[in-house]
Amino acid sequence: MNEESRNPAPASAPAATSAAAGQPGETVLQVRGVRRSFRRPHGEPLVVLESVNLDLHKGEIIGLLGRSGSGKSTLLRIVAGLIKASDGEVIYRGQPLHGAAEGISMVFQSFALFPWLTVLQNVEAGLEAQGVPPDEMRELALRAIDLIGLDGFANAYPRELSGGMRQRVGFARALVVNPTILLMDEPFSALDVLTAETLRTDFLDLWIENKLPIKAVLLVTHNIEEAVFMCDRILVFSANPGRVVAEIKVPFKHPRNRLDPRFRQLVDDIYSRMTVRADAGKATVLSIGERLHEVSTNLLAGLIETLASDIYHGHADMPALAQTLALEVDEFFPLAESLQMLGYAEIANGDVHLTPLGQQFALADTQSRKVGFAKQMLTRIPLAAHIKSVLDERPGHRAPAVRFLSELEDYLSDSAAEQTLRAVTMWGRYAELFTYDDAAETFSLEMPEAETVG
């Protein structure tokens, strides 16, 4: 592990400059103090992405690794010219970037193919905007289609193709314009495991053999293994607000072996880094505005039972457990963190272990689980306690959801606030703390049994 040079960047001021020694080639793109925030009607502006610095060098694949809401996609979209930075600038070809620039192309998570165009037309669409004459356009498109392994499918419509073939079209469309920089927004996450792996290796083969026009790649991912497998440098993002918490250099040569112990060690290492914040947050008192993940109570109970089972004896290594359960980081972390938040589990150093409360929960029957869950919610989640006390105080024991939503919006972005409220509603219903009427959008204390009998 000693080859890797890490920047244990302090969380407050993540000056993630990569002026480290031994960087190959020229700088193709610079990100200088890029920050993104939203003005809101009252209170402080909401920061989605804290100031980021980044140099993209020739011959590099850089990974932006983090969970949803960590600002990694925001950064990618700023570089792509799809959204504007609130502060700072992106320097490309010696000039600040305004809007989508020539030579920067993008591959999308959802493929973003035009369903009404054939594969060939989809690929040509990229050239069309540049005013390439039709004959030249056809020729370039056919070359790109050939390069990416789509020969024979030129005439097919996207709906006739499998997910993997569709993403190949996405790649061909991005590559046909001869880009300098390729931006990839979780390009493999909508694919099944096998297809994703084939696409990854195919791409890396082309990249290593210098068959691609691109000089550098920026890859957004929430998959730690994928980042270690593909990237030369990884920026680790944390959420709320999104910021870079670490920059990790991957010292391995391509092709990389996932089973190599050093590879596994690095993956484990990044896992624990990504849980650092959760670990530190254990001691602090949560506020009403703490973000909750919309995780179903069935999943929570399922994870507790799995951990308590004879296989794990209340203790598990997170990467291994996630893999066994076939859960992506984006799905697993919220789950584990919710357990921690409720006091059923502890997370430390990439491991998760059940607390005595968690063990108790695993053994209890449905009704005592609910009682215990209610108690945990009231003591550990201020938002739940807040809603409950408001309902208790009000004469009719009813309160509109909008009220709590607007309180949450002082702390969180609109979508995060809605998600948090949905999560607390779901958990509160399970724990029978309160009920929620979706049509009227109100919380109340009365349980429906009394009225619907008959």
Binding site: R77, A80, G81, L82, H98, G99, A100, E102, S105, M106, F108, Q109, S110, F111, A112, L113, F114, P115, W116, L117, L120, A125, G126, E128, A129, Q130, G131, P134, D135, R138, E139, L142, R143, I145, D146, L147, I148, G149, L150, D151, G152, F153, A154, N155, Y157, P158, R159, G164, M165, R166, R168, R173, V177, T198, D202, D205, E209, K211, D438, A439
Partner: protein
């Protein structure tokens, strides 16, 4: 290492092919074309002949049908409508061309209006509420104004009257098409929209590659709905009396009007037959192909369950002649829409404006609108108080209440009849497949052609017009309830039906717990359309003539029709305004809340 993963075992390397002559490349790029080209040699196919005949037939008919446009208006009076059945094909042609012209105008209008509303926040604030009002205004009430206006534009020319008629049809077609496009433009898939930006599409290319295709399925469906509503208005707008001047444009509508005047039952029968044929032809030649073609624009990347088919579309796709005819258009389109390199470079630079610009623009824009609106209210108030007095307003509202009662009762009655029938049909897929086109066809058929029959019955049996004229109002629009309910019932989930059976839900409980919540959104859509149509139809249905016999019901429709015939503009404006208010109020108070709660009940998101 050659990069070939995922593809089979191609015999030719495409990279070699890239250097091959263009003809070879085209063949490989379109293997389907190549195979057909070889297999079929140079001989024209049967489909080629059909396509050829269709094209030139259409050209000929259009030139024939429009040859009279330049004639003076007096020519119409010199050639009275000929009631002989052999004249009908020509009249049907004229009517059809009017419909087509109105559809083209509607398309252009709706694309422009919707794009403006979707792209400018300022325009949207005004345009969308305006559109909502416009679609609630009873069009038939405006016939008089329209004719006066267009005849003024082209004094003494047939063209003026033609344009007026086209305009009336346009006003019956454009609004829902506009809403559909606007809705599509507001819900563009974000990833495709980002892809367009990332690929640096210009506005034109964005429109051609993303916005128009995405809006296409909804647009085609709404075109069809508009068209089916439009037959009613084309019939009503061809023969019009403004004050003492009567204009009859050659067409099925004026044919019927003349037949009514001369009490010629046979001629009416022929007109109904001609209309049936025209609607069938329109459906087969235009809308089936459009719908089948529109399938490829569906944004969900999965193949649809039932692929709509059309023999015309199949013919056009297989005919080399059609492809040959289309190619010059395609090339021209490409040449126009293809961005030039120079233009791309220019569009990079952007305009820098001072920071207060948006606020200043807001103030100016909304200020101007508020002032205009205030002026409009003031003028209307003054106009009404000077000419007829506000007492008349009370009278009109009273009449409006009478018509409203009729509309409510009729929709309720039609629902009681058609909902059980619709559900019964919808739950039997085979029957539904047959009933659906029939119901759509009935909805398209202009019910006003049948009014004379009703009058004859009322007169001969001495029935009370206040009651027995009412069914005419819903006669043409009740089918919307039927086919929406059929559609709803036919997509009612199988597992829910099984569950209902398993729980032994029977009788009323079955309706209450299973079927009604399932079909409610569909039913509300149908009932809303039917009620809207009822209001409009009341203008012609509450005031009906047969020869010189005249039957009238107590209601706002009759009031408007009478004011229109007497050229009494103040009362006409009042009547139309009151009716618009009733319709808008109805939509806001009843249908919209009902629809959103129906959606929630049925578990449809957003």
């Amino acid at each position: 290492m050659e990069f070939r993963t995922g593809s089979g075992d191609p015999k030719i390397l495409l990279r070699e092919l890239a250097e091959a002559p263009a003809a070879v490349r085209r063949i490989v790029a379109h293997p389907y074309l190549a195979v057909r080209g070889i297999a079929r040699g140079g001989l024209p196919s049967f489909w080629d002949l059909v396509a050829f005949a269709l094209l030139f037939g259409t050209l000929l008919l259009v030139s024939f049908g429009t040859s009279q446009f330049g004639a003076p208006l007096s020519a119409l009076e010199k050639t009275p409508v000929d009631l002989h059945p052999s004249a009908l094909p020509y009249y049907a042609l004229r009517t059809t061309l009017r419909m087509a012209a109105a559809m083209v105008v509607s398309l252009v209008f709706s694309i422009g209006y919707a794009s403006l509303a979707a792209k400018s926040k300022r325009a949207e604030r005004v345009l969308i509420p305006l559109l909502d009002i416009l679609q609630s205004v009873p069009i038939l009430g405006f016939l008089t104004f329209t004719y006066t206006f267009f005849l003024g534009l082209f004094p003494g020319r047939v063209l003026g009257a033609e344009l007026a008629s086209v305009f009336v049809i346009f006003t019956s077609q454009a609004w829902n098409m506009t809403f559909s496009i606007y809705q599509s433009l507001r819900t563009l898939p974000p990833d495709l929209s980002e892809a367009c930006t990332s690929l640096r599409f210009g506005p034109l290319q964005r429109f051609r590659r993303l916005e128009l295709p995405f809006a296409m399925p909804g647009l085609i469906w709404n075109m069809m709905m508009s068209m089916s509503g439009g037959w009613f208005f084309v019939v009503a707008s061809e023969a019009i009396t403004v004050g003492d001047q009567t204009i009859t444009l050659p067409g099925v509508g004026s044919y019927v009007a003349t037949a009514i005047l001369q009490m010629n039952r046979g001629a009416i029968g022929w007109a109904i037959l001609a209309m049936l044929i025209v609607i069938l032809l329109y459906d087969q030649l235009l809308f089936r192909p459009l719908i089948a073609w529109g399938e490829k624009f569906r944004a969900d990347n999965e193949p649809g369950q039932v692929q709509p088919e059309s023999w015309i579309l199949r013919m056009l796709q297989r005919s080399r002649f059609a492809a040959l005819m289309w190619r010059p258009f395609d090339n021209a389109l490409n040449r126009i829409l293809r961005p030039r390199r120079a233009a791309v470079a220019v569009s990079q630079s952007s305009l820098q404006l001072p920071a207060w610009t948006p606020l200043a623009l807001d103030i100016a824009w909304y200020g101007a609108i508020v002032l205009t609106a205030a002026y409009g209210v003031w003028t209307t108030g003054r106009y009404i108080s000077h000419s007829i007095g506000f007492g008349e307003v009370g009278h009109a509202v009273l009449l409006g209440l009478a018509t409203m009662t009729r509309v409510i009762l009729l929709v309720a009655l039609a629902s009681l009849i058609w909902v059980p029938i619709g559900v019964a049909i919808g739950l039997r897929p085979r029957l539904a497949a047959m009933a659906q086109p029939a119901a759509q066809f009935l909805a398209a058929f202009p019910a006003n052609l049948l009014f004379p029959v009703a009058v004859a019955l009322i007169v001969s049996f001495h029935l009370h017009p206040d009651i027995w004229l009412s069914p005419l109002m819903i006669f043409g629009t009740q089918w919307y309830i039927l086919f929406n309910v059929v559609a709803g019932a036919s997509v009612f989930p199988h597992d829910l039906r099984d569950a209902a059976g398993n729980l032994h839900l029977r009788g009323w409980l079955w309706w209450k717990r299973a079927m009604i919540p399932g079909i409610l959104p569909y039913y509300v859509t149908g009932a809303m359309t039917a009620a809207g149509g009822c209001w409009n139809a009341s203008i012609v249905a509450e005031w009906v003539t047969w020869g010189h016999t005249h039957v009238q019901a107590f209601g706002l429709g009759a009031y408007i029709e009478q004011a229109s015939t007497d050229a009494d503009y103040p009362r006409l404006v009042l009547g139309v305004a009151v009716m618009s208010l009733f319709v808008v109020g109805f939509n806001r108070v009843l249908w919209r809340p009902l629809y959103s709660s129906a959606e929630r009940l049925a578990g449809i998101d957003e």
